[in-house]
C-alpha cells in the first residue's frame, strides 16, 4: 500500500503543475498554480489532523515549494531542464569561459571593489540594477537556446555564465549590507 505513496508527486516539477516542459514560462500563472497547490497541502490545513496526515502534508507542501522555487528562478529552471535532458551543467568542474566574458567579470569586480571602498551604496545599487538587466538579457538567450534551438551545449555554457552573474549579484548585496549594517 505504500508503493503508490506520492505517485503523482514523483512527476517532474513541470508535470506537477501541469505546465509544458520548456524554459518560457508565464510567471503569474506559475504563482497562481503554486498558491492553489499549496492551499491544498499546507500543514496549516492539517494542524488538527492525525500524525499520518500531518507527515504527508509536510512532505507534500515541501515538494510543492521545491517545485515552485526551482521553476521560478530562471537559472534553476534552466539547470533543471538540462538535468531532465541528461545534461550535466558541470558548474563546479567546468570553469573555462570565453575571454571576453572573463574580462567583463574582472571589470565588474573592479567596479564593485571601487564602490565598496568608496562606501558608495548608491553606486552599488546602480551596479545591481545594471547587472540584473544583463541577467535578463542572458535569460532571453537561454530561452532561445533551450526552447528554439535545443542547443544543450550553449545552454549549459549560459547556465555557467548566469551562475557567475548571480554570484556577482550576491557580492553586491553583501557589500551593500556590509556598508549599511
Amino acid at each position: 500500500m505504500t508503493a503508490d505513496l506520492f505517485s503523482d508527486f514523483q512527476q517532474d516539477h513541470f508535470a506537477l503543475f501541469g505546465l509544458p516542459r520548456r524554459f518560457a514560462l508565464d510567471g503569474a500563472a506559475l504563482d497562481t498554480l503554486w498558491r492553489t497547490a499549496a492551499a491544498q497541502v499546507h500543514p496549516d490545513r492539517f494542524a488538527s489532523a492525525g500524525d499520518a496526515e500531518k507527515r504527508v502534508a509536510l512532505m507534500a507542501a515541501t515538494r510543492v515549494n521545491e517545485a515552485y522555487q526551482t521553476l521560478k528562478s530562471p537559472l534553476a529552471r534552466a539547470r533543471y531542464l538540462l538535468m531532465l535532458a541528461g545534461v550535466d551543467t558541470a558548474e563546479e568542474t567546468n570553469t573555462s569561459m570565453p575571454p571576453a566574458f572573463l574580462m567583463a567579470q574582472i571589470e565588474w569586480r573592479e567596479a564593485i571593489e571601487d564602490a565598496r571602498h568608496g562606501h558608495d551604496v548608491d553606486a552599488l545599487e546602480r551596479l545591481s540594477r545594471q547587472l540584473r538587466q544583463d541577467m535578463c538579457a542572458m535569460e532571453d538567450e537561454l530561452g532561445a537556446a533551450l526552447d528554439e534551438r535545443h542547443d544543450h551545449d550553449s545552454a549549459a555554457l549560459l547556465v555557467r555564465k548566469l551562475r557567475f552573474l548571480e554570484k556577482l549579484d550576491q557580492e553586491i548585496g553583501d557589500a551593500i549590507e556590509a556598508l549599511l549594517f
Binding site: T2, H42, D44, A47, D51, A52, T62, N65
Partner: protein, 619 residues
Amino acid sequence: MALLQIAEPGLSAAPHQHRLAVGIDLGTTNSLVATVKSGAATVLPDEHGRSLLPSVVRYRDDGRTIVGFDAQAEQSRDPNNTIVSVKRFMGRGLADIQDVGRSPYRFVDAPGMVQLVTRAGHKSPVEVSADILRSLRERAEASLGGELIGAVITVPAYFDDAQRQATKDAARLAGLNVLRLLNEPTAAAIAYGLDNGAEGTYVVYDLGGGTFDVSVLALTRGVFEVLATSGDSSLGGDDFDHRIYCWILEQADLHGLNAHDTRLLLTRAREAKEALTEHADTRITAVLSDGQTIDLQLSQATFHAISKTLIDKTLLPVRKALRDARIGAEDVKGVVMVGGATRMPQVQKAVGDFFGRPPLTNLDPDKVVALGAAIQANVLAGNKGDDEWLLLDVIPLSLGLETMGGLTEKIIPRNSTIPIARAQEFTTFKDGQTALSVHILQGERELVSDCRSLAKFVLRGIPPMVAGAARIRVTFQVDADGLLAVTAREMISGVEASIEVKPSYGLSDDEITRMLSDSIAHVADDINARKLREAIVDADSLLDALDAALASDADLLDEAERATLDAAMQALRDAIAAESTKDINACSHKLNQASEPFAARRMDRNIQRALTGKNIETL
C-alpha cells in the same frame, strides 16, 4: 472544568463542539492572550479587566512565583529576583548578551543558553517564559471555562532556530499544546488584512519592547505571502528607555548605581518615554537609595535627538527586506505599525518619511499580534470560519553547514518559503574516513565563527573508501514552525544519522515531561486524569478527521484496505470507551500508521483536482 463530550461509537462527532484555542503574544515587555468568540477575535482580560500582562516574573522569598502587574510593582524593591524582558535571553549564550552590566541580574553561562541566578535557584529563560505562559493559560482557561486544545504562540520573525526552539519548549513546559509558532508581523498582517480586505504589497513594521521585525507581504485573495523578512532580535522599546536612562545618569552625574536604583531609573525612563508620546516635555523625579533626589526636565526634541540612531538602525533591515523582496519603497501600498514602541511620534515620522506615506495606525499596536494569532489558532484547531485563507511564511536567516576551512556553505537561503527541504551531497576528505562531522549553522556570513551554531552531530559507520568516493547526502527540512531537522545519509552504504536541531542547551523531551509533571503535581492536579483527557481529545480529533476523509474519498480504498481501517478505528473507539490512556495512545498510533497511505492518496487527489480546475480556467 467543562466535561469533554465523547461521541457515540459509529456516530461522527462532527460538527463537534467549539474547540478552545488561543493566540498568545509572548512579548518582551507585555504579553497577551486572545481567542475567537462568536466569530470575532478578542483579547482576554484578567479579573481586573486588564488586557496586558507585564512580562515580569518575581520569585518571592516565601517560595511563591508571581507574574505580571504585581511582580512589576515590586521590581525595584527586589530587582535581582524580579525578571523583566526575559525574551531577550531566550536561546542566547552569555557572549550574545550585549552589555551584561546593563541588567541587574547575575548570569551563569549554562551550555548554550544563560541562566539567571534567583533565590529560587538558577532559572533558564525557558522556565521564566513558561511562568508567563502558564499565567496566560490559566487566565484563558478560567475565562473560557475549559481546557485549551492548543495555542498559537507568536515569535519575532527574525528569531533564529535556537530562539524558536526555546519558545516552543517554554510553551510545552507551561502545559500548552503548540498548534504553531507564528511570526509576529505575519500575525499582525492577518488581523489587519482580514479586517481591511487589503490587497497588494504591504510592509509590517513591528517595533516591540525588545525586538524589531520588518516583513514584506503580498496580500492576494486570501493568501498572505511573506516575500521577505528582516530585523534585529535585540532592538526595541527597551533601548529607548535605556537612552533616557543614560541621559539621566549624564545629567545628574551618577556613577555605579546599585540594582535597586538602576531599576528605579529605568522605570522612570520608561514613564518619561510614554509621557513624551503625548506631551512636548516631561519631568523625571526620583529619590535614590542614598537619599539623593533626581529632578530633571526632558523635552521631546532632546528625546528625539538621543534616540535618532536607534530609529536609523530600524531602517536598515527595512531596506534589506525591500531589497530581498526586489521591490522599492514606492511599490508598497501600506505600512502597518505594530508594537507599543511604534506609538512614539518620531518613529511614525521616520517610517512615514521613508515610505513617503503616513503609516497605518488604526489597529491597537499592542493587541494586533495576539488577535492575529487567535484567528490563526481558531482555524488550526479546526473551528473553520467562513473565510479560508493561507499563510505562506519564510525563514528569516539562511541555514548552512560548516565546510573545509571554517567556511559556511548555505543550504537553504533566507526568505525561502516554508516548509522546505534541500539536500546537498558531500564526500570524505581522507582515505578510509569512517565518520563525518556535521556542524549546522544559521546566518548570512561566510565565516563559521560569525554565524550561530545550531547543532553538531557525527555520521558514523561509513564504510572505508578512498577519499572522495563516499557520497554523503545531508538533508535540511524546515517545518511550518520554522524549525529545522537535519538528516545525513551515506548513499552507497545507506548509513544514516539524523537530528532534530535542538541546540545543545535545549531541554530534552524527558526533561520537559519531568518538569511538567513536577509543576502539575505541585498544584495537586491528577496527572493521570489529565493525560487521559489529552489522549481522548487527540483520539477524537483523529477519528473526526478520518470520518470526514472517508465521507469524501472512500473510493480511494479497496475493500480490504477499508476493512483494515474500519477495524483500527473501531479498536480506538473501544479504547476510548474503556478509558485506558495506554490503549488509546497505542490504538491512535496504529490508526495513524494504517491511514498514512490513504492520507497520501487523498493529498494527491486534492492537489490534482485543484490544479486541473486551475488549468482549465487559466490555460
